[in-house]
């Protein structure tokens, strides 16, 4: 079983319960600014897009890390980070194509999704099922079903 964090922007209400849950779990306080998942919202269009670490298989952040602090963690199917080895060079921040990694000097730490060690809090607190933690090969299943339902409707109308 290999699970992934699936995002459905079309379901997102923009409530940011994910950012609250993330900061509460990792930092013990409510501080959306340091949340590992972030939400971008277009209010007038009523659209919100959560973004976070995609846990790349061939991760640019791992490739550029000079100390091996950023490393592949196949057991958890994630990219993990070792605070002891980290020299705070921020190369990972530069390399990540998703803008999902940043470094905070004050606490000498990388702010990056760690999937809460397998029980993502953002998923637990999302009220709209816009986030899901699912088996990776099943991740697109919900989307397929939506298309199928629409197709069925149209098909029945013309037949």
């Amino acid at each position: 079983m290999t699970k992934m964090l699936m995002i459905y922007p079309d379901r997102c209400t923009g409530c940011q319960n994910c950012t609250l849950a993330c900061s509460a779990f990792h930092d013990g306080e409510f501080r959306p600014h340091t949340s590992r998942i972030q939400v971008t919202t277009w209010e007038m269009e009523g659209f919100s897009m959560p973004t976070t670490c995609q846990q790349c298989e061939d991760a640019p952040c791992v490739a550029v890390c000079p100390t091996g602090a950023m490393h592949d963690d196949p057991m958890m199917n994630r990219v993990a980070w070792d605070q002891v080895k980290c020299i705070g060079c921020r190369m990972c921040t530069l390399a990540c194509p998703f803008g999902a990694v940043s470094f905070e000097t004050a606490s000498h730490r990388i702010l990056k999704c760690d999937l809460c060690d397998g029980k993502p809090e953002c998923v637990a607190f999302c009220p709209a099922k816009a986030l899901d933690y699912v088996e990776e090969t099943d991740a697109a299943r919900d989307r397929k079903k939506v298309v199928a339902v629409e197709f069925k409707k149209t098909f029945e109308e013309v037949n």
């Binding site: 379901r11 409530c15 940011q16 319960n17 509460a24 013990g28 306080e29 009523g46 709209a128």
Partner: protein
């Protein structure tokens, strides 16, 4: 402090000075935040007789102790001031992101004093607080202003601003934040305009802390599960928005129609939440930390009424719809967009149009008064024309900009205005629902449903079903709902969370967030303290028991058609008992004992 930040901003717009001041633990505990704390500062620092649009009035933005946590639907802040629409204490609540963002920046509250010489806006980014020139922003709509300020400051800033209506001091101008959320009622936007303050923009990168994050998580999960399991707080509001109420209210014959000349609208379904979901809804939206998602991201494709944005809510759909005899949802939604863009309260706007239509129908005003517009009930294009005129400050729109009471009064017929204390009543007919009538009449900011939503038990059966037609027991019911709401508004919770949780749950959340143990009893008493403080403000402003009344139409003219045909409101049976249970004398003044019990002596100027 936990929950609270313990610090607020005091900004003198005359001199441009900014001070950071401390909120004491005692004050925080006694008034919580939001509406309560704001009212305390208004009572302490502002003469209740002050002209609301003068520099001597103050404008307070206040978040609650739960704002910024993940307590379910706890995004709210209040704008507290003396309101220009009716001269009462005004606390206008809004959701969105602004309240939590203010706390992340490090402040529970902002007190704005005086008046700036030139148009300005306030930019707050953590410790940096700047008063910036807004000459370029003056005249811009809400979305234009929001975009321009984000470009000039930070793209993630929360922007609370006025539109052109607030600049021109339309008496029901609102303050919009995140483009689609409104501190809607009482005309707080006109106060902001009178101070030459276009916007308050804030970005915070700090934290809100609670004493025990795990215990708090447990309390949040418990409360959230109750809301999710509730038919209204769970699926109802998410699927259909607040507009789900149209058909529910029409079914009981309590949907005010054509300026309250009736209580039943046969084609109501065309403007209800179910139609909205089919016709204009893009998707449900939630304020910060919301699990309910009653917000409606919407789009009208009909070229005649084209637009996109947020809404309509129930009250809006009703005010521009059945109250004007209109059942065209596209046109209603367009009217909503105009109000959002220009910054006007949709309830007072729609109800004022309805009042004008009523005057027109009865020949009190003619097309000569309305710039040639035949303002007939049911004419959506006439409605939109006068809404635009009000937004733009043209012709007959200048009359409507005064609200229905002053408008009707100027033609010698104030009795056509469906207001309590000069503020327009919302979409629940007190002839069909007795308890809500008492709430409108005794409302501390005039006609208002979010001061004591007795519709919950009287119509929706939440938490228990009560008969809307009886008056017995209603005074006690009103008091419970009014006190609960006052404390809830001051905590930072959204009223809709009460579709699932009650005083005991909110008291538990408050205790877990602040580390201060609030019992249910103490929480409710805090609500009573705030309610009585607001009452004292209004009494000192010159209001008397004679103002605790409903428009005569509701006590004398029965509903004409539908399930509530023949009914009137019987407020006379309820008001004396209400005063007695409140601990007020026959003149509606809180007795010495009542004040002492609530610990209000020192707040009583």
């Amino acid at each position: 402090m936990y929950g609270w930040i313990g610090r607020y901003l005091r900004i003198d717009l005359n001199s441009g000075t900014v001070r950071k001041e401390i909120i004491t633990a005692e004050l925080a505990r006694k008034y919580l935040g939001g509406r309560g704390l704001g009212t305390y500062f208004m009572m302490t620092e502002v003469d209740p007789k002050v002209d609301p649009l003068s520099p001597q009035n103050k404008l307070i933005f206040a978040a609650g102790p739960l704002s910024g946590t993940n307590a379910p639907s706890a995004s709210h802040f209040d704008v507290v001031s003396k309101g220009p629409l009716n001269g009462t204490i005004a606390a206008s609540s809004s959701g969105g992101l602004f309240g939590p963002m203010l706390k992340y920046a490090g402040y529970d509250m902002i007190i704005l004093e005086g008046k700036s010489k030139n148009p300005v806006y306030l930019w707050i980014c953590d410790d940096v607080v700047e008063i910036r020139d807004a000459a370029e922003l003056w005249g811009k709509t809400v979305p234009e202003t929001t975009e321009a300020i984000r470009s000039a400051t930070d793209e993630d800033a929360s922007v609370a601003c006025i539109g052109p209506a607030g600049e021109r001091q339309v008496l029901f101008a609102n303050i919009m934040n995140e483009c689609g959320r409104a501190a809607g009622r009482s005309g707080v936007g006109a106060v902001m305009g009178s101070k030459n303050l276009k916007a308050v923009a804030v970005r915070g990168t700090g934290a809100v802390r609670v004493p025990d994050i795990k215990a708090f998580r447990d309390a949040v999960v418990r409360a959230s599960n109750k809301i999710k399991a509730n038919s209204v707080g769970g699926a109802g509001l998410r699927n259909y928005g607040t507009d789900v109420l149209v058909n529910i209210l029409n079914t009981v014959g309590g949907l005010p129609t054509r300026n309250f000349t009736d209580g039943y609208f046969p084609t109501a379904d065309k403007v209800g939440g179910e139609s909205l979901a089919r016709q204009v809804l893009i998707r449900p939206r939630g304020c910060f930390s919301c699990i309910i998602s009653c917000g409606r991201a919407s789009k009208v494709t009909n070229p005649k009424y084209e637009g996109h944005g947020e809404g309509p809510e129930y009250e809006t759909a009703w005010a521009f719809g059945p109250d004007c005899g209109i059942d065209n949802l596209d046109a209603i939604t367009k009217a909503n967009y105009i109000c959002n863009d220009y910054g006007m309260d949709t309830i007072t706007m729609g109800s004022s149009v309805a009042c004008a239509m009523n005057l027109f129908a009865n020949g009190v005003i003619t097309a000569k008064d309305t710039d040639g517009i035949a303002l007939n009930f049911g004419d959506e294009d006439a409605m939109l024309s006068v809404v635009r005129k009000t937004a733009e400050g043209e012709g007959f729109g200048k009359k409507l900009a005064l609200g229905s009471y002053r408008m009707a009064e100027s033609y010698g017929h104030p009795e056509y205005s469906m207001t309590c204390k000069k503020q327009e009543m919302p979409a629940y007919d007190p002839r069909a629902i007795q308890g809500i009538g008492l709430n409108f009449a005794t409302g501390n900011r005039g006609g208002c449903h979010v001061r004591g939503y007795t519709i919950s038990p009287e119509v929706l059966g939440q938490p228990v079903k009560l008969d809307p037609r009886v008056t017995e027991g209603k005074p006690a019911l009103d008091i419970t709902f009014q006190d609960l709401t006052a404390a809830l508004d001051s905590s930072g919770m959204c009223l809709f969370a009460t579709f699932g949780i009650g005083a005991e749950d909110i008291a538990e959340l408050l205790s877990a967030a602040t580390g201060v143990a609030f019992t249910t009893e103490e929480f409710m008493k805090t609500g009573a303290r705030i309610w009585n403080l607001e009452r004292l403000f209004n009494l000192k402003a010159g209001f008397t028991t004679a103002d605790d009344k409903l428009p005569e139409r509701l006590t004398k003219d029965p509903i004409l058609t539908g399930p509530s045909k023949g009914l009137v409101n019987r407020i006379g049976e309820m008001l004396p008992e209400y005063y007695k249970l409140r601990g007020w004398d026959a003149a509606g003044v809180p007795t010495k004992n009542t004040l002492a019990d609530l610990g209000l002596q020192e707040g009583n100027r």
